[in-house]
Symmetry: C2
Subunit: 301 residues, 2 copies
């Protein structure tokens, strides 16, 4: 539900008049609803030829990814999932194999105790479309993109870059990590890495009206980024900053709390920088500070 360049719904404010049931504004990973309790809701559509090549990855991987990216959005709000529904349009002829999609969806949903409570399916002569909606509840308060403050320390939950080598098809929603983090620490802002570490951090900065300085030698670089750099002509650090679909979490936290977190982290975390008052995204490399482009990952396969 993070939009996309073709989004006609770019933000919650675009599509609905102010409504008492909607208590979170635009640009967040989920809407937060004041219903019978507080509720998170997120939806993502995966489209053949845009988000996956069915022939290469198969139905099961599509099912896994469709469920995982939605669960990741719940994680990014500091939530836990309650239930999922799915809408599917199958290509005609996939007949017997359709169960594979279901297996993939269930594999990930079951791993995070999320009941798949219903769905609707159709069939046509074109490509596969899978639309998943996940409901969740905040573990404590919903963690928004807009809560970062100058001085906050910036963390990421895992090494980034090079997901295109395979991890992008099998993302691991950081739900268990978020449960441990949110239960023990006040996170001020959070987002999951779908567009890229720099691009997604920039979403936080824009929503929070502050800037950030990252430290080049503190960015955790995934082995896939190193592998990819041997062929791409770019550096591993560049891949870690600008590749997408890592689905790690970026979060900010006040320095005192951040020091406590670093002293006894309940899950792996990397401190990668600090928020600053002046707008913009910066990086220190060998003691020198320079501007960092927030150019995100271009969706490609």
């Amino acid at each position: 539900m993070s939009g996309g360049e073709f989004a006609f719904i770019r933000s919650i404010r675009d599509v609905t008049p102010p409504h008492p049931a909607v208590i979170v504004g635009p640009g967040d990973d989920c809407a937060v609803l004041a219903g019978p309790g507080r509720l998170l809701v997120t939806t993502d559509v995966l489209t053949e030829g845009v988000d996956f090549i069915l022939h290469d990855c198969g139905l099961r991987a599509v099912g896994r990814k469709a469920m995982a990216v939605n669960l990741s959005d719940i994680a990014a709000m500091g939530g836990r999932p309650l239930a999922a529904v799915v809408g599917v349009v199958f290509p005609a002829g996939e007949g017997g194999a359709r169960h594979e999609l279901h297996l993939g969806l269930r594999e990930v949903a079951d791993a995070f105790r999320t009941p798949l409570v219903g769905g609707d399916t159709n069939s046509w002569d074109h490509g596969l479309v899978v639309s998943v909606t996940v409901l969740g509840e905040p573990i404590r308060e919903p963690v928004l993109r807009s809560g970062a403050k100058p001085g906050d320390w910036i963390f990421v939950t895992g090494p980034c870059g090079g997901s295109i080598l395979g991890r992008h098809l099998n993302p691991m929603p950081r739900l268990r990590e978020v449960e441990a983090l949110v239960t023990n620490f006040n996170l001020r802002s959070m987002i999951d890495v779908s567009d890229g570490l720099a691009a997604d951090l920039n979403h936080i900065l824009e929503e929070s009206a502050c800037g950030a300085v990252l430290h080049a030698d503190a960015i955790p670089i995934h082995p896939d980024a190193i592998e990819l750099a041997t062929r791409s002509g770019r550096t591993p650090l560049d891949h870690a900053l600008s590749d997408g679909e890592d689905f790690e979490l970026i979060f900010t936290i006040d320095p005192q709390m951040g020091a406590k977190l670093l002293a006894a982290p309940p899950v792996p975390v990397w401190k990668i920088g600090e928020c600053v008052t002046e707008a913009g995204l910066w990086m220190t490399v060998n003691g020198q500070q320079r501007p960092l482009a927030a150019t995100g990952w271009e969706h490609r396969m």
Copy 2:
């Protein structure tokens, strides 16, 4: 979420292990979740060339229909809507006209005070796919398909048949009617007419393990059914019983309560028959009782 012949998720029991959060079983219009409160959730996918001919009806009508059919499922559970999310895959080239889909969705959502709280869109070289998910809450208890008892009176909220002449593109979810009915009367079972009056009543009978006798001269016949009969070679009654996408509600109620309802109906209702102990669907025509086929409407445009 009423399945469909290509459904790989035919029922909630098919897709999830028994789960404490899911308190309503298969075949209902929505899943009922025990979350922070009790929650209804339903999803329906509309697919170009299957559910609509985009060239004939335009984006706005597709938006209206996609929202309305989901709201109708909330009505059929005795619920009121809380919020909607939408996933869309646009055909490339629809560029400037995309806003029309949004307008159609909003037109119906706004009419029933349902905030459209988010969505995800994509674009490709194939047809239009619109997947809507609506959350709701029960007005009192959720009204299921499985609650009918022998002796119950059977009602419908409006005349049926011939929706193909145009009404099928502009269904009117019976949310206001259901609010009035559920607030004042204990409805025992309910469903909306999507497959056809006989076919959908039959869903209630199967889930409730009873039968029903309808009275031919009590079935409210829509003027469109009469119009269509002049060309189809079938009778207006046949159209009323077997055409689909009327989105009226069929409900059952115990006879005492039914008599009170008939004495002072808060909204228009037609009594069309009674539930009986023996299985099957029957109709009395000129005093004679004969079996009635539950053959539903074949989806066609």
